[in-house]
């Protein structure tokens, strides 16, 4: 490889690093001040691009000057900044005091709503943007041509870093941002107008995301998939750099840019994996990122969010459980094929959601990547049947083993962290698994997945398969419920309530969390294996972020503070989804709005409502 080629490769890495930094700096600033990890930051980025492809061509109609192009870019960023202000006032203000899981879910609700809003406003077709006037040519570098616009982008990153430095050190607003990042409560105690500070920060954060998006239009077309792809990269950058640290984000963006542009030469198949691997390594060596600070410990003892009371089944609950089991078993006799299919899927999701609540509700381990173990179970079963030529039975034994094995592998690193960093690492590992299934086309079939995952002949009828699923899932749920009431479950709750106390009475907290992660991964893997056979196919959506969010929405809807809430939540969520999805083109919008409503109005879910009813009776 000659020098010119390496230089150009490195320069294009710097150009993407620069764009990534502009976006990630906004995310990290908002986190520093508000302590909210804003999933919707990717949506701001996407909106920046869409507004720019609308505004910039209109401006260029007047005069094709570079000045108007960049005016258009800044206008787009400002519009997005105002949307950020709107989000702060309407939503985030109500979220500052709720647990981080709820914050993440609510901002993800915004992601879903914006996706549908963008489709509705701009349509499903990608919109290419205009080239930047004055920067359309290429520049000759050591015999290689390099686009002038990319050279310009390389300068944007350091320029934004410099401007942010000036803002943070020379203005009152910036000094307050730094102070709030250090100690939010102290800033509040000093009598600073917090509402204004937070709103201003959201404007700045959304402005930077919008700027990042608007600057991309000469390079990439605006599309409705931009949000989730950029947000995971921006998460990785902020986590590696240290959440809240702008220079850290710069450092991390440069690292990732270079890793991407050279990684593609060496391991073209696993570029996505490399990025997340870097993040996992950094977090294990430096749990708060390269330039981050440890989270200030909570000063007071607060009730954790999760399963608190462990009530026994009373007469009523026993009756409800018996009716539910009987109804499940009677469905093939009385219901039509469609009902049988829905109930089969409800059972599968109930097992997966129940296993997730063992982690989230009992262990306080907020996993944002539970779909990984569900999906890996499905892939293990599906690939063994289609590529390995094995029958269903051994494949169904392999599914929970695969789920547990990967959960043990990933969990080994995950349980070393806590709080928001833990949630980010679960997400990162899930994305690694997703990337492998997506990119390793020869084995996994890539985006299309693999079809022909059929049950053994004896279980091929929908009814028999339903009973197979019912037995596996009901026994699985009963088993996990038993674990929750057993000393192991109590130990998980104890470690969640007070890690320090648990340590002082002789509990190895990490080891127990790791075992719980493995156990939950195994149960999710079994659910995934059953799901693969019920669908007859596997594809990467089974391990995607939206799938993980679906599981979280199920336990939230059911009520994560109760033991059986996950089951009720899975049933309600899946039935509603299955019923409404064919009726509307805007399912995601309603799902997003429902998640936000759940978090804000109904945080105790269905079983919370049931508990209130029982107390009144």
């Amino acid at each position: 490889m000659d020098l010119g080629f390496l230089l150009v490769q490195s320069l294009s890495g710097l150009a993407s690093a620069s764009s990534l930094f502009v976006i990630a700096s906004g995310l990290t600033l908002v986190f520093g001040v508000t302590r909210i990890v804003n999933f919707a930051h990717g949506s701001f980025y996407m909106l920046g691009a869409y507004v720019a492809v609308t505004v910039v061509p209109w401006l260029l109609d007047f005069d094709r000057s570079p000045l108007l192009f960049f005016c258009g870019v800044l206008i787009s960023a400002a519009v997005v900044g105002l949307l950020g202000v709107l989000m702060e006032i309407l939503l985030l203000r109500r979220l500052y005091k709720v647990p981080e899981l709820f914050q993440l879910l609510a901002t993800f609700g915004v992601v879903l709503m914006v996706q549908d809003a963008v489709l509705w406003l701009w349509g499903p077709v990608e919109i290419p943007g205009p080239r930047a006037p004055g920067l359309r040519h290429g520049v000759e570098i050591l015999g290689q041509r390099f686009p002038a616009y990319e050279l310009f982008l390389i300068c944007v990153g350091p320029a934004v870093l410099g401007l942010l430095w000036l803002l943070m050190h020379k203005t009152r607003f910036g000094i307050l941002i730094r102070a709030a990042t250090r100690d939010r409560e102290m800033v509040g105690a000093l009598g600073v107008n917090q509402a204004l500070l937070f709103t201003g920060t959201l404007f700045l954060g959304a402005f930077l995301a919008g700027l990042g998006g608007a600057l991309q239009i000469p390079r990439v077309s605006a599309s409705s998939q931009m949000d989730l792809s950029i947000i995971t990269e921006a998460f990785v950058v902020t986590v590696i750099g240290g959440m809240g640290s702008v220079p850290g984000a710069f450092l991390a963006a440069v690292l990732i840019g270079q890793l991407n542009s050279f990684g593609v030469l060496i391991f073209p198949k696993i570029t996505l994996v490399l990025v997340f691997l870097l993040m996992a390594v950094v977090l294990v060596v430096k749990p708060w990122g390269l330039l981050g600070r440890p989270e200030p410990a909570a000063g007071r003892a607060a009730l954790p969010e999760g399963v608190l009371a462990m009530p026994r089944f009373g007469v009523w609950e026993k009756a409800i459980a018996a009716v539910a089991v009987l109804a499940t078993l009677a469905v093939p006799v009385f219901g039509d094929a469609y009902t049988v299919k829905v109930v089969t899927e409800v059972l599968i999701f109930a097992l997966a959601a129940f296993s997730l609540n063992l982690l989230v509700g009992h262990g306080g381990i907020v996993s944002f990547g539970h779909a990984a173990y569900f999906g890996l179970g499905a892939y293990a079963a599906g690939l063994l049947v289609t590529k390995g030529g094995l029958p269903m039975e051994p494949a169904l034994i392999a599914a929970p083993i695969a789920g547990a094995a990967f959960a043990a592998l990933f969990g080994f690193f995950i349980v070393r962290l806590s709080g928001i960093y833990l949630a980010m690492l679960t997400l990162a590992f899930a994305q690694i698994a997703y990337a492998v299934c997506f990119q390793w086309v020869e084995v996994t079939g890539g985006d299309n997945g693999v079809v022909g995952v059929w049950p053994s002949p004896w279980a091929r009828s929908r009814e028999v398969f339903h009973y197979l699923v019912a037995i596996c899932c009901i026994l699985g749920i009963i088993g996990l419920r038993r674990v929750a009431y057993a000393p192991f479950g109590a130990t998980l709750r104890a470690a969640r309530d007070s890690e320090q106390r648990a340590d002082a009475i002789g509990v190895d907290v990490r080891r127990h969390r790791w075992l719980a992660f493995t156990l939950a991964g195994g149960a999710a893997g079994l659910a995934g294996g059953l799901y693969a056979f019920s669908k007859g196919s596997i594809d990467p959506t089974l391990l995607s972020i939206p799938m993980s969010i679906d599981f979280l929405a199920m336990i939230l809807l059911g009520g994560m503070q109760t033991v059986m809430g996950a089951v009720a939540g899975a049933a309600a969520f899946h039935t509603i989804k299955d019923f409404f999805m064919p009726l509307t083109d805007h399912w995601r919008f309603f799902l997003g709005a429902s998640i936000i409503a759940l978090v804000l109005i109904f945080p105790r879910g269905l079983s919370g409502a049931y508990g209130a009813l029982r107390r009144r009776a």
């Binding site: 057993a486 192991f488 130990t491 709750r493 969640r496 127990h512």
Partner: protein, 260 residues
């Protein structure tokens, strides 16, 4: 006989010497108080004994066994119970549940996936609660209790591991005066009755002088005095540190003025 023996502990944080050649010993059934002004290294010394901090040099011996640098969970298994400056309990559990949890851990059954945690070690837990006078409230959520009662439950949790040594970091911090006296009396009774050694740090001098058998005075990481409460009270060096140089002069002036 010597239960705990601390030999030449040193700990630096950057340029700050938090503990310098700290040595002391503690016998079974004895109550040893560590006192000193803020920043004297009390908590540092304490955490090096409890396993929360690893000393730069020096050794901690429990019953002759070297426990230096072992993590807290290991230190607990070797017979050290601990209470915290801000009480640490399992907020989602009942009072009884908290003590049962400690017993489950003590008996090494935390990985039991089958048994019913609510019925395990119930009698033993109730007996421990009776010892601290909390058995009548056993089924209430611990979050409902007054802080002084939470501290009593914390003591029961610490006792669940049948410790040889109790580490109590400012046991009476944040409590009302009457609650303080009764908690210290309770601790002293249990310690003497069962031959448990107690190492505690304390700011409340009433608690220290009423219950400690011996007192260790730390200033800037160094032991400046050690002995019975009477000898420590009479030590001029201790008086100077506690009253401060100017305070000491003011006291002298006041005395001269009073005596003409």
């Amino acid at each position: 006989m010597t239960l705990l023996s601390v030999e030449g502990l040193n700990k630096r944080f950057g340029g700050v010497v938090a503990a310098k050649d700290v040595s002391f010993a503690l016998a079974a059934g004895e109550m040893l108080a560590i006192i000193g002004p803020n920043g004297a290294g009390k908590s540092t010394t304490f955490n090096m004994v409890g396993g929360q901090l690893r000393p730069d040099t020096g050794r901690v011996l429990l019953d002759g066994q070297d426990i230096t640098g072992q993590p807290p969970r290991q230190v607990c298994k070797l017979g050290v119970g601990r209470t915290f400056q801000v009480a640490q309990t399992f907020l989602s559990m009942s009072i009884l549940g908290n003590v049962q949890m400690a017993l489950i851990a003590h008996h090494g059954r935390t990985r039991d996936l089958i048994s019913d945690a609510a019925t395990l070690y119930r009698t033993e837990a109730l007996a421990l609660l009776a010892r601290v006078g909390m058995e009548s409230d056993a089924d209430r959520p611990i979050g409902e209790l007054a802080y002084g009662d939470v501290k009593r439950v914390e003591l029961a949790i610490a006792l669940a591991a049948a410790p040889k040594l109790l580490l109590m970091d400012e046991p009476t911090a944040g409590m009302a005066p009457r609650e303080r006296a009764s908690l210290m009396q309770l601790t002293a009774d249990i310690a003497r009755g069962q031959g448990i050694g107690v190492l505690f740090t304390e700011h409340d001098m009433d608690a220290v002088f009423a219950h400690a058998d011996r007192i260790l005075v730390l200033v800037r990481g160094e032991v400046i005095a050690e002995g019975s409460p009477e000898s420590v009270r009479a030590n001029p060096e201790v008086q100077r540190v506690y009253l401060g140089q100017s305070g000491h002069k003011a006291a002298l002036r006041a005395r001269r003025a009073a005596h003409g």
